[in-house]
């Protein structure tokens, strides 16, 4: 029987994979995709909790997260496009102007 902890474990591992992507990859597009992974990991945990605690709120939350994630991706990509136009690069190492 697959229990809550199995789903949570999958969610945790997926989360960690996403974090690895954010921390290690230099390409901003990949980083953005890794963020999606992290969000999806959270979604999975939420749905699982919702199912096992017999409460619809978790699924509602996921619904909103998906909506906001869509907005986030749109804005993030728009930013990336603007950035790429200006700097001709999508690598984090080349974008350290905020340094003091």
């Amino acid at each position: 029987m697959i229990g809550l902890e199995d789903y949570l474990t999958v969610s945790a591992i997926l989360f960690s994979i996403g974090v690895v992507g954010v921390v290690m990859r230099r390409n901003l597009f990949i980083i953005l995709m890794s963020l999606e992974l992290i969000l999806n990991a959270a979604n999975l945990a939420m749905v699982a909790f919702s199912r096992f605690s017999n409460n619809i709120d978790g699924q509602m939350m996921v619904f909103f997260i998906i909506t906001v994630a869509a907005a986030e991706v749109a804005v993030g990509l728009a930013l990336l496009v603007a950035l790429y136009r200006r700097r001709q690069t999508a690598y984090t190492e080349d974008l350290t102007n905020m340094k003091l």
Binding site: I2, G3, L4, E5, D6, Y7, L8, V10, I13, F15, S16, I17, G18, V19, V20, G21, V23, M24, R25, R26, N27, F29, I30, M33, E36, L37, N40, N43, L44, V47, F49, S50, R51, F52, S53, N54, N55, I56, Q59, M60, V62, F64, V68, A69, A71, E72, V73, A74, V75, L77, A78, L79, L80, V81, A82, Y84, R85, A90, Y91, E93
Partner: protein, 166 residues
């Protein structure tokens, strides 16, 4: 049924890993394609959790809209394969250490939690009807707010995309 869980879970994790680190291709397009696979297998997991509506949304919004957006942008900018750059070893080490710790904390706490054991019998059905009712009664205000968020995002994107930004 268990077999489906293992199948989808494995698919999710493997494809997720391939999004982040693909030994064969460093092209962002490949990563995006594996992201689609990840999301689809996630949708499978959702179905297993009886969250049918969300599974559908996952497929439509993520696999449909979001990933298309990614591909669109990547192709628009005509990004080639990732250059191989020298890794900052200290950084890599620190990153692995940090993420490892994170995973350890998360996974180990899952096993220890007493609440997890108490909630082991699944009952909830995430049907469209149920979600729709909740959405338009209890959650109507957040629903409207989210629509504003989307509007704001839209305005922002238009503003950002204008060439001569003043």
């Amino acid at each position: 049924m268990d077999i489906f869980f293992y199948l989808f879970a494995a698919l999710t994790l493997i494809c997720g890993l391939l999004v982040v680190a693909n030994p064969f291709s460093r092209n962002p397009v490949t990563s995006a394609m594996f992201l689609v696979l990840t999301i689809l297998s996630m949708a499978g997991l959702f179905v297993l959790l009886n969250a049918f509506f969300l599974a559908a949304v996952q497929v439509i919004v993520y696999a449909g809209a979001v990933i298309v957006l990614y591909l669109f942008v990547i192709m628009l900018l005509d990004l080639g394969a990732d250059e191989r750059r020298r890794l900052n070893k200290a950084m890599v080490g620190l990153s692995f250490l940090g993420v490892g710790l994170l995973a350890f904390v998360l996974v180990s706490s899952i096993g220890q939690s007493e609440a997890v054991g108490a909630l082991s019998s699944p009952r909830l059905q995430g049907t469209t009807e149920k979600l729709g009712k909740a959405l338009f009664s209890d959650y109507v205000l957040p629903f409207e707010v989210v629509s504003v968020v989307l509007l704001v995002a839209m305005v922002g994107i238009i503003l950002l995309s204008k060439r001569d930004l003043k």
